[in-house]
Amino acid sequence: MSGVVFEGVTKRFGEVVAVDDLTLEIADQEFMVLLGPSGCGKTTALRMIAGLDDVTAGVLRIGDRVVNDIDAKDRDIAMVFQSYALYPHMTVRKNVESPLLTRAFPVDDGAPRKLTGEEREKRVKEAAATLGLSDLLDRKPGALSGGQRQRVALARSIVRRPEVFLMDEPLSNLDAKLRAQTRVELVELHRRLATTFIYVTHDQVEAMTMASRIAIIENGRLQQVGRPQDVYERPANLFVARFIGNPPMNTLPALFSRNGTASQVVCGETRLSVSEPGSAADGQAVDFGVRPEHLTVAADGLPAEVKAVEMLGHERHLVCDVNGAAVVIRQPTEGAPPQPGEVLHLSADPAEVHLFDAETSERLN
């Protein structure tokens, strides 16, 4: 069992900086999700932990050990690849058994040694039972469904009880229903194994539902680390604000004005009050952000022309136009929905307004 620490880690591929000065501490037994858009360097970060890519600069630790110069095979980690990377010519049994073939394992608190065929078979059966694969052991990967293959890949990684699990978008090939089901199972697996999980995804729903903490990365740079709720409630900058949440946070350019104790943002002709202005200064140009669920239709406020109404059953989304910017409002499905073309007035919950510096995009309140 051990954590993973990045200290100023950079990875360059020629001119491309895939990971840029990453400093991140992942605690023992944590479920850390690396989240970011495609190409932001998530896989590269994971591959450096695995030892499949070497570190250009900085220090990488697993447990107390600096692993910059330690071979992949000598690190106690297991990885689930996005493509699963199962051996197509081997049965499920052989696939799951393969990490046990060459390594020494402590047996019954004795000195580590290679496992006998019987011991291996026992562990394979355990791992297979954990993941509901017991009936599939003699099949080859070609004869399995996507979800079953993904389980085999998981079984292959848990069978050796590694210090750290790495998973690279393991759910991306599954359909929506199976994905939701597997999310729950992964959280359960994490609880049972009590090991460090480092999980890469570009899907914020996966991150929000499974992570103990989320690290949001853009362009190789770490944007924010925190518990899902913290990241959602207090995004550190405009990128995080827009990336987390579905539909995403509405952001509009505005001017901040402080008038005695009353704080307001001025957006076009409209003034909206803000209850926690933080460090925003009078007259400062800001981007003010408000989540779709914190906007309500009121007698007066921000004028918004309805463009479309999306019905989701339990709620509806009004897509509106405010001074040329798209703004989304979440409403319970009560009463008749407004018609496209109608002009509404929106008010924002003053306690839920986010303020970002218009120049640096950093959070102000």
Partner: protein
């Protein structure tokens, strides 16, 4: 065809689209056959007709000028295929196959594995290794001949490459074949290696497989279809080898390099043609049996990935 269409049309309420569909299917079939005609003509002219003629010749005797033939019947096949000429030629051909196929395959595999890595300038080596593909059998044989020439050759004093000695001549010729086929084997194996997903190799690294275990447990099984293909092709090459023998030894010394093909070639005088034809039919049979046998034995052990 037309009566069928009419009968159907009578039974159904909406005959028009049906008739249209049937006639379109006929038209499509006609177009399909039309596309097949060129290859049928080529196969007919250069394979089916000569093959039929071979079989026919084998049933006859011919005079010295080839102007008259006389029916002798199927017994001639039994005599020739049971005779010493055939068994000796076949034995040389089989030896040739045994010398060339495994050695060529292993060397090609080693070269491909050596050249399959991400290194600067590796393309240069890949080009060099593949270069024998671009040289003709004649040119390659002459180069080889010079290399092992006792007077001027770098390898002129190597006893097991002596073309003058009946015990070593066939092996020396085989070696030249191995070398000539190496480029092709190399290219095909390299393509097979490059088709293996990186992630599978990386998974095996994380599973703790060393290079040797990885090679035999992961790499070889994954390129097995490629290797099977090469075994079949190289075997056919071996059974058909002619030019290198003609250039290096002309079947000598003491007939020790007379493979089946070479014997067939030597029997191309009108009076002997029927015997040559029977040998050729025999070679065809042997080649087919060897190829089918390889497919049946190896295919069971070969994994075809999906």
């Amino acid at each position: 065809m037309s009566t069928e269409v009419q009968a159907e049309a009578g039974e159904h309420a909406a005959p028009a689209p049906r008739r249209h569909r049937t006639s379109r299917r006929t038209r499509e079939a006609l177009v399909g056959y039309l596309f097949l005609v060129p290859s049928l003509v080529i196969f007919g002219a250069f394979f089916f007709y000569p093959f039929g003629r071979l079989i026919w010749l084998g049933l006859h005797q011919q005079n010295r000028t080839g102007t008259a033939t006389r029916w002798v019947g199927i017994e001639q096949y039994g005599e020739v295929l049971g005779g010493e000429e055939f068994s000796q030629g076949l034995w040389h051909s089989v030896q040739y196959l045994i010398y060339t196929v495994p050695l060529g395959l292993v060397l090609g595999l080693l070269l491909a594995v050596a050249a399959h890595r991400r290194l600067k300038g590796i393309k240069i080596f890949q080009t060099i290794f593949a270069s024998t593909v671009a040289s003709s059998v004649a040119v390659a044989s002459v180069i080889f001949f010079v290399l092992i020439n006792p007077q001027v050759g770098k390898f002129g004093r190597v006893s097991w490459l002596d073309l003058e000695n009946p015990d070593s001549a066939l092996f020396a010729v085989s070696l030249s074949s191995v070398w000539q086929n190496l480029g092709l084997t190399f290219i095909i194996v390299l393509a097979g290696l490059q088709a293996i997903p990186d992630e599978i190799i990386e998974a095996s690294i994380l599973d703790g497989f060393g290079p040797v275990r990885r090679f035999f447990r992961v790499t070889v099984p994954l390129i097995a279809p490629t290797l099977l293909f090469l075994v079949v092709v190289l075997s056919i090459f071996a059974l058909q080898a002619f030019a290198q023998i003609d250039i290096l030894t002309q079947g000598g010394p003491a007939g020790s390099t007379e493979t089946l093909v070479f014997k067939i070639f030597n029997l191309q005088q009108p009076a002997k043609q029927p015997i040559g034809s029977i040998l050729a039919v025999g070679l065809f049979g042997v080649t087919m049996i060897v190829s089918l046998g390889q497919f049946m034995i190896l295919e069971r052990r070969v994994h075809y990935g999906n």
